[in-house]
């Protein structure tokens, strides 16, 4: 239950801290907060708490699992009447990955996105992707796509290991 007297900002902080314990189902080292899919936490004019959730990719199958996990966490921690709103605009970007999330990704063996998505043109720029295992810069792309919509498949020419790369999009 929300504690009266606390500011909206403090309440949002508390809810975000709860959601920071909700893992992404496909990359469990990341929380949904790290992933940048929680867009807002605020009280509506009717007094109900509203949590804005955005999908990473239109067809990402994890979206529904994330929604259910966020719902469960809100229910268990005193926010059973909170409403989860789908937010499509602005569209999710890999730029919204948190700094902590980028570190966790690398430690998990997934190379984080190399640069900000300043414009769609950056898809064509060949910025080297460093190997998350040996930090070697001599890597090659094997496939634009990987095991989940948010990843591409790379290989390190220095240590010889294949690795996932979190796509810049």
């Amino acid at each position: 239950m929300s504690t009266p007297g606390n500011s909206a900002a403090e309440e949002a902080e508390r809810v975000l801290a709860l959601l920071a314990a909700v893992p992404d189902p496909e990359i469990p080292v990341l929380s949904v907060v790290d992933l940048g899919v929680i867009r807002h936490v605020r009280r509506g004019t009717d007094g109900r708490l509203r949590v804005g959730l955005t999908p990473t990719y239109s067809g990402c199958p994890a979206t529904e699992m994330i929604r259910a996990a966020v719902r469960g966490t809100l229910d268990r921690h005193g926010y059973p009447d909170a409403e989860i709103e789908e937010v499509l605009s602005p569209p999710w970007s890999s730029d919204w990955l948190s700094a902590a999330g980028r570190v966790k990704l690398r430690q998990f063996g997934i190379a984080p996105p190399v640069a900000p998505v300043s414009s769609p043109r950056r898809l064509w720029q060949a910025t080297p992707v460093a190997c998350p295992r040996c930090a070697g810069a001599d890597t090659e792309r094997i496939s634009e796509f990987g095991s989940t919509p948010c990843k591409a498949h790379y290989r390190c020419r220095q240590c010889g290991e294949p690795f996932d790369y979190f796509k810049c999009l």
Partner: protein
Amino acid sequence: MSSAERHAAESERELQAARCRYVLRLGDTALVLGQRLGEWVGHAPALEEDLGLANLALDLVGQARLLLTYAGELEGRGRDEDDLAFLRDAPEFMNLALAEQPNGDFAVTIVRQWLIDTWQLQVYRALAASTDTRLAAIAAKALKETLYHHRFSSGWLARLGDGTAESHERAQRALEELWRFTAEFFAPDEVDERVHAAGIAPELPGLAAPWSAQVDADLAAATLRRPAVASYSWHGKRGVHTEHLGHLLAAMQHLQRTYPGLRW
């Protein structure tokens, strides 16, 4: 109600019907192409391309879900994305006829994908500025995904076209076979004109020049020849389809038609 009010109400109803039809066309093209790509799963030339095509399919089906959900709401008859996808017959599908063409060999699949990617790039880029904020949000999201799809399809187009004599010949043949379906891309009908006039959608013929420039650049990189002007226009978006759509729907809809309401 005065006659002026009646006229305004009638005009508004017509606009809503045109908007619904327009959104349905976009959604059906994404859905049908996504279903086609899904047929490659387990059959692509290499594991990486199998994953690639499945990922494109996933994005397209995701876009279709957003669009069909919206179309169902605009229609106002209580139909959701699943009703629209699984319980309509071929003449009620409004996809571009190109999307339903069979996979053929890998070159046919790549050329079909690349042609639709280049078309979607133009349409989604323009729709991102639509006065319809919901459609604009869907288009902005789809545009990012389509840019990635185009990188994949134009990359493969160049590798096939500028590859071996065999791959070049197959890519050129696929282009010659599929080119006629592009005449439908920028040929407006009364639905397109109505949504354009209301600021919902771009003027279709105006997209032809930037599309053409993109196509020429990609074809030059792939050392492929642009086929002659397509003289016949299909009317997939008006529900007039090639014989292939019925077969695709039979596979896609079989379960819901046989066991109505089945969930798992």
